[in-house]
Amino acid sequence: MKFKALTAIAALMIAPGVAFAEPDDDTLVINGETEMVTKTAAPAHMEGTGIDTIMSGWHFRSDETQALETDDFDNPGMIFVDAGREQWNTVEGEAGKSCASCHEGPESMEGVRAVYPKWNEDAGEVRTLAHQINACRTENMKADPYKYTSGQMANMEALISLQSRGMPVNVAIDGPAAETWEQGKELYYTRTGQLELSCANCHEDNYGNMIRADHLSQGQINGFPTYRLKNAKLNTVHARFKGCVRDTRAETFKPGGPEFIALELYVASRGNGLSVEGPSVRN
């Protein structure tokens, strides 16, 4: 049991010693054919964090919830992949183009999800997948951007993520992305809100423990966008970050803003080596 660096309030919220609190050892196989890497050695940059093995959030869910992700038909997130495919083929904007006009089928996006967020040389910035989608829409299609955490954005991210399913997350943290990565790392360890909790307090120090009736995961984002049973829709990474920061009773950062871009890069890099799972199913 890890029980360091807890505030008094967090200690009240987290009930240690619940019998079923350990992440399980099940294996995630999708459609009876694709075996996913859901546990693997932590990437080198995590030395000193106390985490040797990184784990998908899938391991922290009940058998019933886990089962929903093992079959593409049982996974309600796949409805939104279908919706994303329709968007992919829909001509929008003054340029008279759809995604398919330049990229042909969505299969051309194979491998893309695994390496985002990624440094964009022309723009001179780290871009998330959502930002890249919107850059394509505004620059190439001359269409309106999707709202950052909207259903349409989640649908498109789900469609693109699916093309990389089973491939290892592999975001670059060196070179021109290093500065953004450092910013993200600093945010990860910065306590926010009235509860004075950092990402690390829950997801590094206390994963596997219960926070009330919730089983704390490592906060990995390899499964995003994620269909949550709670709100019965696809949830984007930044919407989830916002929910987490809000739960510390803080003013949150803006989805799509520089803080969450940096945080996404850092959190994604903590999952380097896990399979891309999106769209996953969580509680």
Binding site: F73, P76, M78, I79, F80, D82, A83, A232, K233
Partner: protein, 109 residues
């Protein structure tokens, strides 16, 4: 018609005559229960799919009377006999009077 309603069904492509097969279906729908209130405190009116029927070549496989306690994006799994080649028809009835349908052919060989 409710917005963005999208049926999905999973039926094997083929079977032997007399086989029992498993069918799964899912339809995207909010299933607004009528129990919730909006930000101003007004009750959000109920708007659900209230009935689902699967039939094969015109004969009923299953009919489900659905209530607001069925989750968002209603999911059903059930078993059907396949006496001959033909077509499954799936029909969902919305509170607002619209219906959503899907069909799936199955061959026997």
């Amino acid at each position: 018609m409710a917005k963005g309603v999208r049926p999905r069904v999973k039926v094997p492509k083929s079977a032997s005559a007399g086989d029992v097969i498993t069918i799964k279906c899912l339809i995207s729908h909010q299933m607004e229960s009528g129990q919730r209130k909006d930000k101003e405190g007004n009750v959000i009116p109920r708007s659900i799919i209230n009935n689902f029927t699967c039939s094969f070549n015109g004969e009923t496989v299953i009919n489900v009377k659905m209530e607001p306690a069925i989750s968002t994006n209603p999911y059903f799994e059930f078993d059907a006999k396949v006496p001959e080649a033909g077509e499954f028809e799936f029909v969902w009835d919305d509170d607002d009077g619209s219906t959503y349908t899907d069909t799936q052919a199955i061959s026997v060989g």
